[in-house]
């Protein structure tokens, strides 16, 4: 998993940004976040929006090393805070007939 570390304040993001929301600086370096993340919070969502096929849908925020966080779908029926997850890339939903892709999590 690739991360983007702000060269000025050190905040690490899981996606590319032009400007750091924490310090406002614009220079980032790519860092390796490893494969493993830990689930810090989750929800089991029973009312899903149009365009999502899975119901109920487990959504969570996981933390990689250096505190880099990523929100996404968690492919498990038994989510638990602290569980180890791996991020994978693939189809997340459809929007106006088009597939939207991105990262989701699977239990390690």
């Amino acid at each position: 998993m690739k991360g983007y570390k702000c060269d000025s304040c050190g905040k690490v993001y899981t996606y590319k940004r032009k400007v750091c929301i924490k310090c406002g600086k614009t220079s980032f370096s790519e860092v390796d976040l490893g494969e493993e993340a830990r689930l810090i919070t989750y929800t089991v969502l029973y009312v899903v929006p149009a365009g999502i096929e899975r119901s109920p849908l487990v959504l969570g925020i996981a933390e990689f090393k250096d505190g880099a966080r990523l929100f996404g779908q968690v492919m498990t029926d038994k989510p638990q805070v602290g569980m180890k997850l791996k991020a994978q890339y693939g189809k997340l939903r459809t929007k106006d007939g088009k597939e939207l892709n991105g990262y989701y999590f699977v239990p390690e």
């Binding site: 929800t43 929006p49 959504l59 929100f71």
Partner: protein
Amino acid sequence: MSRKVAIIGARMTKFGNLIDKTLMDLLVEPSEILLDEYKIERKNVSSVYVSNLLGEISSRQTAVATALADYLGITDVAAERIENGPASGASAIRYAYMDIASGNSDLVLVAGAEKMRTAPTEVVTDLVSMMSHPEVEYPSGATMPSLGALFARLYMQKYDVKPEHLAMVAVKNHSNAMKNPYAQLKKEITVEQLLGPGSESFNPYVAEPLRLYDMSPMTDGGAALIMADLDTALSYTKNPVIIEGIGESTDALALQDREDPTELKAVRLSAEKAYRMAGIKPEDVNVAEIHDAFTVLEIAISEEIGFFKRGEGKLAVERGTTKIDGEKPINASGGLKARGHPLGATGLAQATEIVWQLQGLAEQRQVRNANIGFTVNMGGFGSNAVSIVYRRY
């Protein structure tokens, strides 16, 4: 030198499932009542601001402020629609405030409305979720309740907040709504019903750990204010409400990017700005309407706006401090939870309740000795907030 700005009067429609009312009905009705009641000549209105989010889809309508001016027979005015997510209503008040304080306008109509019950739930849920981060939240299926639930789990864990605390907020706000003829949910509930045996069917999970009765409902409704500089306001009423402070703030758009995702920083900073501008402290506030889109938010926001220390908002609920007859009444109207939450109208409905409280018009919900009022209207899931301080004239 900016001028003092006042609210002459406030009105709202009944909130609920208003299948027979159009978006225009919901904007026109409270506006017309105000214009008639205060005998305001159309030609004296110089701006019309309308807060609304979903007009394109709910009603196949844009440029709703111009439409409202037309329907009301108001011509040659500035007419603009304001969109700031669920905080659109308070943002519209802010625009009117700036317009008047600067001397640009003397008399301004602010109206807000939403039709949320026309499209199917999954469609409205999707529309509302469009205010989430377009790259890192929306594609995964983020909805406002899901983001609220992620926040709730972290916040409840950190401060040992129990489902009972959330249920107590729902019970209080439903009880307050029983005294509010304009409220959507007219149903007394008990903590036992919400959490006791058999509660899974009465109060099912929507987004664990949040259940149905932790959520504000889908609502149709409208509300309106007439605002003016103080001198003009006094020519129409002896009982205006002064806007003493307005503050707006933002936070990282995505919940994952916030320094501490158990904090609602935009809420805190907006309140601090409003207090500073008004020259008051949180302890000076006598009556408040705060953005309880989810029950957990009433507790968390009550701490962020300085009413209680961090982690002690739950104690205030336990002790009844936030009831209508408590020391710090919160959401006497029933709040978003039970009055209803028609997105574009919510900020104006909050203001309406405070105006009525400060004008002594809140009837069975009247808070005694209400002199200073406060509202906070939150946008996104905590990415934007607008706080307002009001004073009885």
